[in-house]
């Protein structure tokens, strides 16, 4: 396959990354290499094989649906780049 810098830019945008042109060119070449290697999987016969998404064998333990206070608001907000003491602050979302 031929992974282009334009494709790299499109996927980067989906991942909310904004990469400069020179990085996109380099990334496209590396993606091409890596995907060519990954394509070796095509040779593996997986007819009727159930996908294994994780090695967990137990059932997810359930608990009562009860609200529990596990941490304090100020502890959480203390890590925020910007807050007003009650909420996270982000750039304006709604115009007007």
């Amino acid at each position: 396959m031929n992974f282009t810098p334009e494709q790299a830019a499109k996927v980067a945008a989906l991942a909310r990354l904004r990469l400069p042109e020179d990085k996109l060119v380099r990334l496209a070449v590396q993606m091409d290499d890596i995907l060519a290697y990954v394509d070796t999987l095509a040779a593996c016969d997986t007819t009727e094989v159930e996908p294994l998404y994780g090695p967990v064998e137990h059932h997810t333990p359930l608990r009562m649906d009860v609200a529990v206070k596990t941490c304090q608001r100020e502890d959480i907000l203390a890590q925020a780049p910007e807050s007003d003491g009650r909420f996270f602050i982000v750039p304006k979302i709604v115009s007007g």
């Binding site: 990469l19 990085k23 290697y37 593996c44 994780g54 750039p91």
Partner: protein, 490 residues
Amino acid sequence: MSGIISLSLVELRAKLAAKEISVSQAVSACLERIEATEPKVDALLSLQAEASLDRAEAMDASGPDPDKPLWGVPIVVKDAICTKGVTTTCASKILENFRPFYDATCVERLKNAGAIILGKANLDEFAMGSSTENSAFKPTHNPWDLTKVPGGSSGGSGATVAASQCFAALGTDTGGSIRLPASFCGITGIKPTYGRVSRYGLVAYGSSLDQIGPMARTPADCAAMLQVMAGHDPKDSTSAPRSVSDFVAETASRRDLKGLRLGMPAEYWGEGLTPEVDRCCRAAMDTATSLGATLVPVTLPHTKYAIATYYVVATAEASSNLARFDGVRYGYRHQDSSDLRELYELSRTEGFGEEVQRRIVLGTYVLSAGYYDAYYRKAAQVRRLIRQDFLDAFEHCDVIVGPTSPFTAFGLGEKTGDPLQMYLADIFTISLNLSGLPGLSVPVGLGGDTGLPVGLQMFGRAWDEGTILGAANALSGALPGLGEPKGLLE
């Protein structure tokens, strides 16, 4: 090197309990060693010197506590694991100033068992790498040869233990990140069965692959650490609700390998091994035989697909896990963004390093519409076949053995230009994470050509960490020790 820092964790623990050594003496010895060796190895990202000395003093005042199995033992924690009030950076600019307000479950358990956390260890950013060169802050150097990498991603943990700065360290293993640095640095490290140790408080990379595990001087030291860390945690739904056996007793009780069938997979013992690794590991097999083990040929035929499978599964999970770093709730934020999208994009672009960005893009691609079936679903199918290989092999043997890496530690900068070549360093470690089974790396000697440590892996059946720890203990007890790391001798 002599005195306190030359003891194993188990030896130190006994001397602390008998008051032959005070906790303050143990902590001071480590801090002095850190001061002497850290300029050479750069294993640590932060040091809690004063807090550790204060804690030691308080513990000495109250005296040994027989209910605390790690009472007074100084350890180090990989900086991808949350420590309350102590910076947890994941070696990334995006978390440079992040101070968790809670401890990871395993950290909490270690503290409750009396361990003292001296500091946090360097790693490849978000545990993505095999050399610790992807750290946003500094590369770590191998104590055996300062021009070589310590392996990765838990390279700081490997180097700090090998340099005798502490008595054990926590690592994390997503594709070999405990076992590879253990091998390169000449120490023991175990990746427990998936679900054995709670991942609560571990900054997630590949959630279906990540496990926290101990890295230490000996298998018995690892057993002492794992005993405290293991067990169900309601805060992690993937942690297994099952009892924990007595690893310490199982490890100590095995003095030979009688009755054990060691499976040697053809795929791990064939071409591709450097001659020195081949010689060293085969000599260890001779010793195993003399200890009573039976060697059995086994096959893991899907090994050749493991790296491709891993880089689809791990990057897919990483792209999803790392979506949380958006400059809003914690971590780095680009200032003066005009809208929310720009805030996300510029915070992530400026905060993440190149390898992390590469894996996020690869993961986003393999999960995107039109490619999901061809890549992600296909890889998950091959993953089942890889696991089945192990289950089939364990029909014929009790432990699977093979080299941890085809080569000894490589040079700093040697593989950084070619991501695919770096990924291939994990050829022998990655299958285990895909399968969820436990495995360890134990040193079996120094390579005849490079003089650098060679590690041997032992894989076990699910939940059977006791058998591989015991086998590693018996084998390493019968092999000559490695001696002191040569990079720190002058």
